[in-house]
């Protein structure tokens, strides 16, 4: 038995999902899109970890610890536009790719998305302050809302952790669930977990 449902079917029925302009984003291209998104997230984490090593292991002063790319292009670390841009890319990725998730995986992905909505808002506020020269409630530098409660420079690393962890859980659950979804004709086809479905004989080999 082979099951290869067309992408167009993904936009109909109780599990209708947004599939992008190509009609494939959250179906046959979902796995590829998630991989690209994961590479961006991991690269960002790599930069943070390199910066952590520079500060806490190598003992570099904080302003000089620019991670890897930041050493070659220092404005990448100091630019508020850069931070905001990354927060925006993350938000767009989480919003657009969520349609490919179902069940528990979708709930974890949504948790990650809503955390990023707030994180994005915080960066927008920082950008607003940096671009106007007026700082929140008379502060002496751009300040985010939660910084008023937790004045730690690692705050945004904590935010990234809060966004990444549920995202990873969602991806794992999605991968496992896809094998079951493949047997449920009411759930649209998705390219994730293809090898699992192939082993189950639900997808044509090759």
């Amino acid at each position: 038995m082979t099951t290869t449902r067309p992408a167009a079917q993904a936009t109909a029925g109780p599990h209708a999902r947004w599939t992008g302009p190509s009609g494939r984003l959250n179906t046959t291209w979902h796995r590829r899109a998630l991989l690209v998104f994961a590479v961006v997230v991991i690269a960002h984490w790599g930069e943070h970890l390199a910066q952590a090593v520079q500060i806490y292991v190598m003992g570099w002063p904080v302003p000089e610890a620019g991670g890897l790319l930041g050493l070659a292009v220092p404005w990448l670390v100091t630019s508020e536009w850069m931070h905001y841009g990354y927060a925006l890319v993350m938000l767009i990725g989480l919003v657009t790719l969520r349609h490919g998730f179902t069940g528990r995986a979708r709930r974890w992905w949504n948790a990650s998305m809503w955390t990023q909505v707030w994180h994005h808002f915080e960066h927008l506020l920082l950008l607003l302050q940096a671009s106007t020269g007026a700082y929140l409630a008379g502060a002496v530098k751009p300040t985010s809302i939660v910084q008023l409660l937790v004045p730690r420079v690692e705050l945004h690393l904590f935010y990234n952790t809060l966004v990444t962890l549920p995202m990873v859980v969602a991806m794992v659950l999605h991968h496992r669930r896809t094998a079951r979804d493949a047997q449920d004709v009411t759930v649209p086809a998705c390219s994730c977990g293809t090898s699992v479905r192939r082993r189950a004989g639900l997808v044509a080999a090759g």
Partner: protein, 189 residues
């Protein structure tokens, strides 16, 4: 590990445009409050628009002010209370929306009380222009939050509807007076 948020962009748009947006936002809120007794409760779209405008006004006010009357942590609470109506207006029928609607009259009452107290303290002789500016900004902040939550209130009877219309007028006038005072004294607006 660290985001260097103490750095600037190397250029600045200046805060002038933010002042203009803030004045425009509070005028929209005041106008809707003053029109409420005649036009009735706002519809779904109007309510969503008003909550967004109020949230934007609160954020702009906090960025432009030198602080609020109280600990800095109040700023986080003010933003939370200003953003919540936006979510409620966007996601009607949820448990959050139902709970927020039940709490709305109490939030409006609290915000109105804070507005009256802060205006009175500013008018009856604040010790120094810095504190006076903070009191005026705090009054304006509370009035804007109150107007945002007022848009979520439903009037179960004619009498309640009338009393909320009067309250809307009072808050709308407070916003206008606060805006005028802030313009003269040179605080956030």
């Amino acid at each position: 590990m660290h985001h260097h948020h103490d750095t600037s962009l190397g250029w600045s748009l200046g805060a002038g445009w933010l002042h203009v947006l803030l004045v425009a936002a509070v005028l929209v809120l005041a106008a809707s409050a003053l029109a409420r007794p005649f036009l009735g409760s706002p519809g779904r779209r109007s309510r969503a628009a008003l909550t967004v405008v109020a949230a934007g006004a609160v954020v702009a006010l906090l960025v432009l002010s030198d602080g609020v009357d109280g600990p800095r942590q109040l700023v986080a609470l003010a933003v939370l209370v200003a953003v919540l109506p936006v979510l409620v207006a966007a996601r009607q029928g949820t448990a959050l929306a139902r709970g927020a609607r039940r709490a709305a009259p109490w939030v409006v009452a609290a915000a109105s009380t804070v507005t009256v107290v802060e205006v009175a303290r500013a008018r009856l002789g604040a010790p120094g222009p810095v504190l006076e500016a903070r009191l005026v900004d705090s009054a304006l902040l509370a009035a804007v939050v109150g107007l945002s939550w007022l848009s979520l209130c439903r009037a179960p009877s004619w009498r309640v509807g009338r009393s909320r219309g009067v309250l809307a007028w009072a808050l709308g006038c407070a916003v206008l007076i606060g805006t005028a005072t802030a313009t003269v004294t040179g605080t956030a607006i």
